[in-house]
């Protein structure tokens, strides 16, 4: 895996972490350093001497150089300009690189064939804060570190808490030098080095060589260490990759997405479906099944009532210029807002967002819950519901009625017989005997006058037919309303699911993206068979 891919993955991880509201300043710094370091020669690596005041960094540098290149003294903390030890022949290429590190006085060094620039850094633990600040500024940029300490200081809290724990995982080449071996008995020195190794293991830090030596007497172990090792290019590459891995892991741990398995979606699908169902029912309650049924029944009644009386009334109203109120299921649906508030709908959605946030690490919660404003959710829902009730197919097909065509002539017949009966009766009363009065024989009642039979029959028929029509219209209306509701319910379901998904998707996606990016970066180190990167990381 190339460094470009690592950089790309780190960029993705940073972007995702930013979306999750995490602090990415450090990761950005690492990304920048990786970018910048590649602009400088990679056939030379920079080794920094880092340690507390008085441990003998300068003396060590002098011993390596075989000459007094750095002033060592008894005064603490030592104040001197930074010195860089360069193998001869590398000055030209190294100048820019050293400038990038903050500049140093360049001394050449016969070297042992190692392409390494050795810089001594100020102390990290004195009362002079500027010294530690300089160490902090340079550490991210150098390729390798020689941690220098001595039997007095090897267990210092500053060294371990602020430096080793933080930087050791990010370095590809490093060693710890326990200086001043000349001041202790060899077996005591061994015990000190073992104690230091134990401490490093305790802190879950990578295995690194612990070199016991005396800067004033014998630095042979260090010389050996300096000349051994892989190619410089690989070393620089490995160091950059490691800092990427470490900082990406840091992000993954903060976002709680570290692991081989992709992060679960924030909310289980089942829980999401349950919440959506509750929300949908609440929406349907507002839309109002009872009202919709009444509206569609009214429409169907009007349809059914196409008989003679209805027509007469319509004619009359037309003549008088009266506009009758008409039932209007579509309009009724559209006016859903007037019939209730979305509070009961928002509640289950809010609830599920909270549940999702609860499972997240504390630092991610604000980013999830920032969107859980009921007013915003309500607005989204309202917009969706508007769409759901105004679609073209809503309230589309009215159910046809089979018996109507048959009933309608019967209606006319009933009204006709009523009218004929009335006219007949009126004629009888007005003109008298010249109009014939037929009689019809009924089983129990005996003979009845025909006009009366016509009137009574007409009335009875009219009433019964009306009853029949009404019942049928109501039933059809209910059917129609139910089919509309079914349709709306389906659409509303989709609306609720969309709104829920929209709330969670961005976080889910960002989490997944971060996980995938970190997995890629980790993969890159697995490819390189960096076994020690799989070390367990202590919780911070």
């Amino acid at each position: 895996m190339t460094l470009e891919t690592v950089q790309e993955a780190l960029r993705c991880a940073i972007e995702a972490a930013e979306k999750l509201g995490l602090d990415v300043a450090e990761a950005q710094g690492v990304a920048r350093t990786i970018e910048e370091r590649q602009g400088y020669p990679s056939d030379l690596y920079v080794l920094g001497l880092v340690g507390g005041t008085g441990v003998g960094k300068s003396t060590l540098l002098n011993s390596i150089a075989g000459a007094d290149v750095s002033a060592a003294g008894a005064r603490r903390p030592t104040t001197r300009s930074p010195v860089a030890l360069l193998p001869s022949g590398y000055q030209d290429q190294a100048t820019a690189l050293l400038d990038w590190l903050g500049g140093a006085e360049v001394r050449t060094w016969a070297g042992e064939g190692a392409a390494v620039a050795i810089v001594d850094l100020p102390d990290l633990d004195s009362i002079e804060p500027a010294h530690a600040a300089r160490v902090d500024a340079v550490l991210p940029k150098i390729d390798a570190v020689l941690w220098v300490t001595d039997p007095e200081k090897y267990d210092d809290a500053i060294l371990h808490d602020h430096y080793l724990r933080r930087w050791m995982p990010r370095l590809a080449r490093q060693a710890v030098v326990v200086n001043k071996a000349d001041r202790l008995a060899p077996e005591d020195m061994m015990r000190v080095c073992d104690d230091l190794r134990r401490r490093l293991r305790e802190e879950a830090l990578p295995e690194v060589p612990v070199l016991s030596l005396s800067a004033v007497a014998d630095i042979e172990p260090l010389r050996r260490w300096l000349t051994e090792g892989a190619s410089v290019k690989a070393l620089v590459f490995k160091r950059l990759r490691r800092s990427a891995v470490d900082v990406a892991l840091e992000l993954a741990i903060t976002a709680d997405v570290r692991g081989k398995v992709a992060p679960e979606p924030l909310v289980r699908t089942a829980a999401q479906a349950d919440a959506a169902a509750v929300a949908r029912d609440a929406i349907l309650d507002i839309i109002g099944p009872l009202g919709l049924r009444a509206q569609s029944a009214a429409v169907m009644r009007t349809e059914a009532g196409g008989g003679p009386v209805h027509r007469a009334r319509v004619l009359l109203e037309g003549g008088l210029g009266v506009t009758a109120k008409r039932a209007d299921p579509e309009g009724y649906l559209l006016r859903w807002r007037e019939r209730g508030s979305l509070d009961r709908v928002v509640a289950p959605i809010r609830h599920i967002l909270l549940e999702a946030a609860d499972a997240l690490p504390a630092r991610l919660r604000p980013s999830v819950l920032a969107t859980a404003d009921p007013a915003v959710i309500g607005e989204q829902l309202a917009h969706g519901i508007d769409g759901a009730v105004s679609g073209p197919a809503v309230a589309g097909d009215r159910p046809p009625s089979g018996p109507w065509p048959a009933i309608r002539p019967l209606q006319f017949l009933a009204v006709g017989s009523l009218l004929v009966g009335i006219v007949w009766l009126v004629a009888l009363l007005a003109i008298g005997g010249s109009v014939s009065t037929g009689t019809i024989n009924f089983p129990v009642l005996g003979p009845m006058p025909t006009p009366v039979v016509l009137i009574v029959g007409g009335l009875l028929g009219w009433f019964l037919l009306n009853r029949l029509l009404r019942r049928q219209a109501d039933q059809l209306g209910r059917q129609w309303a139910d089919s509309i509701l079914e349709d709306v319910s389906r659409r509303v379901s989709a609306v609720v699911t969309d709104v829920l998904a929209a709330q969670l998707a961005s976080v889910d996606e960002a989490q997944h993206a971060l996980w995938a990016a970190v997995r890629d970066i980790e993969q890159s180190s697995a490819d390189a068979r960096d076994a020690d990167l799989a070390r367990p990381r202590p919780e911070h």
């Binding site: 507390g52 005041t53 008085g54 441990v55 003294g73 008894a74 005064r75 603490r76 903390p77 633990d125 004195s126 009362i127 002079e128 530690a132 001595d150 039997p151 007095e152 200081k153 090897y154 267990d155 210092d156 809290a157 500053i158 371990h160 808490d161 602020h162 202790l184 005591d188 015990r191 000190v192 104690d195 401490r199 309650d285 507002i286 109002g288 099944p289 009872l290 009202g291 007037e338 019939r339 209730g340 508030s341 509070d343 009961r344 928002v346 509640a347 809010r350 909270l354 946030a357 609860d358 504390a362 630092r363 919660r365 604000p366 819950l369 920032a370 859980a372 404003d373 009921p374 007013a375």
Partner: protein, 608 residues
């Protein structure tokens, strides 16, 4: 208890004792408050932190507590208690070796592995040790962190070797700090390579503040010229402070006695001589003790002020956070109450149920005239009054009220017949659901807004991380809202019953059933907007109109207005109380702000 004697630097001895006692009490309270706040965010206040981390409010609170408890209080009560001499210094500087040299025996383990000393090691004769541990400077130390070594040397003095102030074992710094607060004299041990280390100087900063008498011992001094450089360097560093240094003693490198666990006695001769004098001369000890006390009393002022400033900071931060909470809850409460009575709270589906009851002819006859009334009366002959879709929950309250009205009219049996027990119905459930949803939504939103604010504040974010439940309302809010609504409904029923009794409308109320009338009032509470007219369409408006006519007929317009206003007030009061309880969750997380304010004032006045 001995009072400070005359002729000492303290002019009003008794007053000083009581003042120091009050200071100790305030310091203890301050520490308890801080410990509580730390536990609130899931931290262990006693857990040692890295010596490299520096001093913060926690350290200052501890310092003030330890200093007043372990030094000021014992010393102000008893000037003749044994002097406590504390050896402090960085890891590997040779503290234990010095201890062994002074004790004349290997009492403390020294060695090459760091850290060598993990607990305090106290040396002194039996009586002195007991005195210091039982009632004096060492009383505040837990027994398992203190090793006693009885040795019959230097009576009147107790020498304590402390763990390293700067090792990876973080507890060492805490122990050394604690002892430094209790000591009468400090022996600061460092080395020629170590003397400019940051952490020990952080520790000395405290010695400077409390005006501790100090001896500086520099181990592993290089030879000749370099030794001068080192001594000069140390003097320069000390000159930049206000430390009360008695003497700087350089110990040459390699001045170890044969046993390897102590120095050759001549290396620290001046120190040994001085300690011997102190041990032999009680008056000398007393002078030193009273000087140390006087210095410490002057030095405690700045610390007390600093702690008071910390308290002020906490009060400010707490008030800001509290304000967020108060604002959010007040806003949401206002919006909620407005929406509650905006006329559109109840779903139309709920009103539809009610409309079919209140619009029935048998009911409308009560306020209709002419034909309508006749028709209603006619219908009533055929059918009895429809069952009101009213409240099951309220049945008990209703029964009481019905009995009340019934007794007043002496018509109980017929009432029972005409107004059957109302079934639990959609109106009650629907109204309660709607109100509850409104309350929980706004309650949850207030919590969310507060939390959103808090998450942008460092202290608030910590509290939220430890209490994620703050992000939403409690589960109790919904139950509380339902309970409050039930109680409120019952109060309406009682209102109706009380008004009905002895009035002309009592018969009508009895006929309808108190419960039905109560629901009418309830529905009207949410739909009464004052200026309704018949021209408005829709079930909501129609129901409101019918309701209003019915109630006007039963009680008279003015009484209805008053009843509605009272019902509204009662409901919004009840809901506000619920919101207050919700908001208190945030308040409780912030700890006791008032006590902090009082403590800050007290500390300042005591320090003055």
């Amino acid at each position: 208890m001995n009072a400070v004697p005359d002729g000492s630097t303290l002019s009003e001895p008794v007053d000083v004792v009581s003042q120091v006692e009050r200071l100790a009490e305030s310091a203890e309270q301050r520490w308890q408050l801080l410990a509580e706040a730390q536990r609130e965010i899931g931290l262990d206040p006693e857990a040692p932190v890295s010596p490299a981390a520096g001093r913060g409010p926690r350290e200052r609170a501890l310092e003030l507590r330890d200093h007043t408890r372990s030094f000021l209080l014992p010393r102000v009560r008893d000037l003749d208690a044994p002097l406590l001499i504390a050896i402090v210094g960085p890891t590997g500087s040779g503290k234990s070796t010095l201890m062994n040299t002074l004790a004349g025996a290997a009492v403390s383990t020294s060695g090459v592995l760091r850290p060598t000393t993990r607990v305090d090691v106290a040396v002194g004769n039996a009586a002195d040790l007991e005195r210091a541990i039982d009632a004096g400077a060492l009383a505040g130390l837990s027994a398992d962190l203190l090793e006693r070594r009885v040795a019959d040397i230097l009576p009147g003095l107790v020498i304590v070797d402390t763990p390293d102030v700067d090792s990876v074992e973080h507890a060492g710094r805490a122990l050394a700090n604690q002892l430094l607060e209790a000591a009468d004299v400090g022996l600061f041990v460092t080395t020629a390579t170590r003397y400019a280390d940051r952490v020990p100087w952080d520790v000395l900063e405290r010695a400077e503040q409390r005006r501790l008498d100090l001896m500086v011992i520099v181990n592993r001094m290089p030879a000749r010229e370099d030794a001068k450089v080192v001594l000069k360097g140390i003097e320069t560093l000390l000159a930049g402070t206000e430390l009360r240094v008695r003497e700087i003693i350089g110990v040459p490198d390699g001045a170890l006695a044969e046993d390897g666990a102590s120095l050759v006695p001549s290396a620290v001769a001046p120190l040994k001589r001085w300690l011997a004098t102190l041990s032999a001369d009680a008056a000398e000890r007393r002078t030193l003790a009273s000087d140390a006390l006087a210095g410490a009393l002057r030095g405690v002022g700045p610390l007390a002020h600093a702690v008071a400033d910390d308290l002020d900071g906490e009060v400010r931060a707490g008030k800001t956070l509290l304000e967020f909470a108060q604002d959010a809850y007040a806003d949401e409460n206002a919006v909620m109450v407005e929406r509650l009575f905006s006329g559109s709270l109840l779903r139309e589906e709920v009103l539809r149920n009610w409309h079919s009851f209140v619009g029935a002819d048998q009911i409308t006859r009560l306020f209709s005239k002419g034909v309508g009334q006749a028709r209603g009366t006619g219908t009533e002959l055929l059918r009895r009054i429809p069952r009101a879709p009213a409240f099951a929950v309220l049945q008990d309250a209703m029964d009481d009220s019905t009995t009340l009205v019934g007794r007043a009219r002496g018509k109980l049996p017929s009432l029972r017949r005409r107004s059957p027990r109302a079934p639990a119905a959609a109106v009650q459930r629907g109204a309660t659901d709607d109100i509850t949803a409104l309350v929980t939504n706004h309650g949850a939103e207030a919590a969310r807004r507060t939390s959103q604010h808090w998450s942008t504040d460092p202290a608030g974010a910590l509290l939220l991380a430890a209490h994620p439940e703050l992000w939403s309302c409690t589960f109790g809010l919904e139950a509380g809202a339902r309970g409050a609504i039930d109680v409120w409904m019952a109060s309406i029923a009682q209102d109706v019953a009380a008004r009905g009794a002895g009035r002309r409308g009592a018969a009508r109320i009895a006929a309808l059933g108190v419960n039905a009338v109560a629901v009418t009032v309830m529905v009207m509470t949410f739909s009464f907007t004052g200026g309704l007219s018949g021209a408005e369409v829709g079930i909501a408006a129609a129901t409101a109109l019918l309701n209003q006519k019915l109630l006007n007929a039963l009680f008279g317009e003015a009484a209805v207005h008053e009843m509605i206003a009272r019902a509204r007030r009662r409901l919004s009061d009840a809901l506000e109380a619920l919101f207050d309880a919700e908001q208190r969750r945030f308040e409780e997380r912030l700890g006791d702000i008032a006590t902090r304010e009082r403590l800050a004032d007290e500390l300042r006045s005591l320090a003055a």
